[in-house]
Symmetry: C2
Subunit: 364 residues, 2 copies
Amino acid sequence: MDFINLETPALILDVDRVTANANRMLAHCKSKGVFLRPHVKTPKSTKVAKIATGGRMGGITVSTLAEAEYFANAGFDDILYAVGITPNKFNRVASISEATGKSLVLTVDSTAMAQAVADRALGNPVMIEIDCGESRGGLSQDDLALLDIARILGPQFRGIMSHAGHSYGTDQMAQVKKIAQEEIAAAVAAAERIRATGQPVSVVSVGSTPTVLHAQDFSGITEVRAGIYLLCDLSQYGRNICSLDDIALTVLATVIGHNKGAGVLTVDAGALAMSKDIGANNFLPEAKFGWLCDVETLAPLGLAIDIVHQEHGSVKIDDPVVFDQLPVGSMVRILPGHACLTAAGGYGEYHLTDGRIWARQDGW
Amino acid sequence: MDFINLETPALILDVDRVTANANRMLAHCKSKGVFLRPHVKTPKSTKVAKIATGGRMGGITVSTLAEAEYFANAGFDDILYAVGITPNKFNRVASISEATGKSLVLTVDSTAMAQAVADRALGNPVMIEIDCGESRGGLSQDDLALLDIARILGPQFRGIMSHAGHSYGTDQMAQVKKIAQEEIAAAVAAAERIRATGQPVSVVSVGSTPTVLHAQDFSGITEVRAGIYLLCDLSQYGRNICSLDDIALTVLATVIGHNKGAGVLTVDAGALAMSKDIGANNFLPEAKFGWLCDVETLAPLGLAIDIVHQEHGSVKIDDPVVFDQLPVGSMVRILPGHACLTAAGGYGEYHLTDGRIWARQDGW
């Protein structure tokens, strides 16, 4: 497309890459016999979500009620809100369900919130979250509260979910495989404990992109959740979860200044456009705040955003010839360190490489 | 106000604090005999901007064309877009000027962009940016291009601007004072060099909150720019630029989980709600991703967000009594590490402590 007239910074989405990433994961999950419930908190787009589900209008995961509302309004059903619910969100949950008639699945990990949901008689299906080692949300699989919650929820109780977010903390495949099996074991054990009381557990859900890709044995699991595989980024590349050619999200930026004395080239992609996430550097120290690439070929230029200010990205230049190659006013595309945060930087939309514009639902 | 029914995360603005911060800076600049052109990239709100200017509908600084358009549409005039302009933004600049009739002041630091502005005949006033030591945007004060740019711009040339962003890199007042005088010296020297060619320089503009507060001698300076003093944050507090009681921006968050086994309490304010900026920790290592405070009194609870995930903030709990004091469903207000980035996290609006809602203009 004709990038040169686009205002920058702009979020560029390569739909061919998204589709390839989505289809690879759909095929993988089919081969493993598990239902894929894509986490759409990364793309926050109905059009990307439809690619991720293979065309199905439902069976997705979201991380905000703004997403839940947006997807339900667009006709998506069976939407899992995978963040612990609290009473100040009940009105919104009720209004989404009433306005759209779509099923919004809630998440709890305490008897107090299970009781609050039951008392409010929202009627939504509810998952119980299990902590499989990340030490974030979730009950221990052997916590007695698990049985109390299932009992309090009664027919509203749908199943067990766990998320091995700590799988992003290693680049060792053996460790990812170990975490994947621990995630599965924790969820299955929790489900079995509830089943032993006579209560049915229809869904046992686990997942993160690394563990879904590398788990060896999904026995007892009915569905998996993953999201970042759709767009990919330097964090995933640095841990061998994707190739550079899988990265479907870039930031189009313009060179806005040359500070030749200081050896710094400035682009109009700073902390808001890229985010201040430096997690990619844990396993790819040269990732910095993102890699500058050729606008058309996406070939990396061997340059990174070294420092971010609110709107300025500073690129250290060792060879002055770069100033000639990238004059002020020229453009680059930047591979993000962490696509989820870069995409949520306030763009509100994607520019597709074919010129179309697709909306995103940011905020809460 | 009745926080308990608000959906979270929500951005809370204490207008009394904003007003006190604004009035203190207005009085300071008046006493120094310099015009204050507030940088409104932090609040991105017309109502906050009017407080910052003391009611004047103009004479402000912005960092995006989205802000420029929003403020011009609201009737603000004399708006400095303090980021280097490039040709892909000319259409937007022209449409803002034509639609509103308000003056939008541009920034350049190269002969190429000065020529592009002149060739396009936009007619907007233009500032030349000088690098006073931050090594970001701007020409060296002794760069010969300075005179070429002023000549190319002719009557469009308005003045010189510099920004000592490196003043945020120290907590030593002596160093801040030194940087402030270097900022002033660079801008004044550049202006004098242009005046020596016979061309008038009507504006000589410098500033960052620390240097505006601590410069000793503003001779030769006509105006100053600063922004973060309006809202303040733990970064400013950690460098003694403000007190805790000056921080006017907080994030209202709900406790969404207790992981007692791991000693972790989870709030619904993560990487998107708080940002991943950890700059405050440079001078306040206990800042982490923000401090949890009592919802009503804003007294710090001695707890910080230690880890952020996309929507989850994890708070390490040493004393289990905290789980009783902050049950699931209860609320906290969080002092941000860096207010500019926290506020830009996708909220789109402020909830005032008196219940009103004020809009923000995010994005580009």
